[in-house]
């Protein structure tokens, strides 16, 4: 079934591993099922299984392997530092049939640009955002704050002590990110 011996060996290793600790992975999946969209942090998982946090992370990754092998249509994902079960993309057509997918609520280009700048450059003031975009951005910023995607996190030391903005945990949820480290790298800007 496996195309390369390497993959075959890996699968065997894994299934050996699973035979030994499968009960824990199944229990972990059950707990994630119960935790729902609240998710579980590494710390919570570590607490339940009496392991350290890196081991908890590894359990989630192993669970993901198990779910993939067994063809599960919901997978463990890391979102804003919590692990939770989310439907797999393959399920989307079925979800649509049952109208279980909420209608998309997309952000305007202005809001998305402003959000991208905040995400990569936080903490940042409104006027710094406007310098980069070359246009007034108060409206876009207002939308983002109202939607809970950006927030005032401090005040700058510059004259007038303007607000510094940053992204929220809901931002990570909205884009399916585990943390800010998961943002794709910004295109190289020091070319030439």
């Amino acid at each position: 079934m496996a195309p390369t011996p390497g993959a075959q060996e890996k699968a065997e290793l894994r299934s050996g591993f699973t035979a030994a600790t499968g009960g824990s992975l199944q229990a972990l999946e059950g707990l994630l099922f119960a935790a729902g969209t609240e998710g579980l942090t590494d710390r919570q998982i570590a607490g339940v299984f009496d392991v350290d946090e890196p081991a908890a992370t590894q359990m989630c990754l192993d669970l993901r392997d198990l779910q993939t092998r067994e063809g599960r249509r919901f997978l463990v994902e890391r979102l804003a530092d919590a692990w939770q079960l989310m439907t797999a993309p393959e399920l989307t057509p079925y979800l649509r049939q049952l109208a279980l997918v909420p209608p998309p609520s997309s952000l305007s280009q202005a809001a998305l640009e402003t959000l991208a700048i905040i995400a990569y450059r936080q903490p940042i003031t409104r006027s710094q955002i406007e310098d980069i975009r070359g246009v007034k951005s108060d409206k876009a910023l207002g939308t983002l704050v109202a939607r809970g995607l950006a927030q005032e996190i401090a005040r700058a030391d510059s004259p007038g002590r303007p607000f510094l903005y940053g992204t929220t945990n809901d931002f990570l949820d909205y884009f399916g990110l585990g943390s800010h480290r998961d943002l794709p790298p910004l295109e190289q800007m020091d070319h030439g």
Partner: protein, 268 residues
């Protein structure tokens, strides 16, 4: 006819102007639509197109955001300096401060464009990501309240007396509108047998009251119920009901294995 065309064009321009997030976005569009390299396109070369675009927009008396006009002035300044006759290599001009401002202005604008483009691309990627992600859903959590404490059997059953259990069973059976057959309750022989059977059934995995029943006959329900009560009294099993009128979960009381053995020995 001409009028209609003009109106159509005006609408078109309005749409086109609104399509751009600002002067940087417009400049980027002009560069990319001509497949020019942002890293070395002479800014002067796109100035004309930028001015044409702006002029046409203004001819239709559209409100043009001040940012577009500020950028126009900047572009014109850069272009004007680039048209001054050059007297030597750029390095020399810079060394003598002849074109320093022009070089700085152009470099700064180019850097702004490159930076803006990076964020524009990131914004597009985020937009696509959010649409894909919106299609993936989770489920609501189960409230953990019922698991919040680990009540001991005595905590769990505080204040409950066996007579309450009996009364509640009687009430439950009364709902089926059939009289309780008391003769079966007195059939003591089957209860110890059933206790042994239940202990075997729960040894490996918890089960529920309903699963202990092989039929729904009242006779069996009562026997099983009495056996469960007796096992509870002997601390050999733990019973738990998560919701009112829910099924009763029955788990072997493994903490009490030693006692169980003793009890069995004593019984023998």
């Amino acid at each position: 006819m001409v009028l209609i065309d003009a109106i159509a064009s005006k609408e078109e321009y309005r749409v086109r102007l609104q399509a751009f997030e600002g002067p940087l976005d417009l400049l980027l569009h002009l560069i990319e639509s001509q497949e020019l390299d942002i890293y070395d396109v002479p800014i002067a070369r796109i100035t004309d197109q930028y001015m044409t675009y702006l002029r046409e927009s203004m001819e239709f008396q559209l409100e043009v955001a001040s940012e577009f006009l500020v950028m126009a002035a900047q572009l014109l300044a850069i272009k004007a300096r680039s048209l001054l006759p050059r007297h030597g290599p750029l390095e020399i001009q810079v060394a003598y401060g002849l074109d320093a401002e022009y070089v700085d202005d152009e470099r700064e604008l180019r850097e702004r464009l490159i930076e803006y483009r990076a964020f524009k691309l990131a914004a597009q990627a985020l937009g696509e990501q959010s649409l894909l992600w919106a299609e993936r859903i989770g489920r609501l959590p189960l409230p953990l309240e019922s698991f919040q404490e680990q009540p001991t059997v005595s905590d769990f059953l505080a204040g409950v007396e066996v007579s309450h259990l009996r009364d509640s069973l009687v009430r439950a059976l009364a709902r089926t509108k059939i009289d309780l057959d008391v003769r079966i309750v007195r059939d003591r022989e089957t209860v110890p047998q059933r206790m042994r059977l239940i202990e075997n059934q729960v040894r490996d995995a918890p089960t529920t009251f309903v699963h202990l029943l092989r039929s729904r006959r009242r006779r069996e329900i009562v026997t099983v119920f009495l056996a469960v009560l007796e096992l509870m009294r002997l601390n050999r099993i733990i019973c738990r009901q998560e919701v009112q009128f829910g099924d009763i979960w029955i788990t072997a009381n493994t903490a009490n294995t030693a006692n169980t053995v003793n009890t069995v020995n004593m019984a023998l």
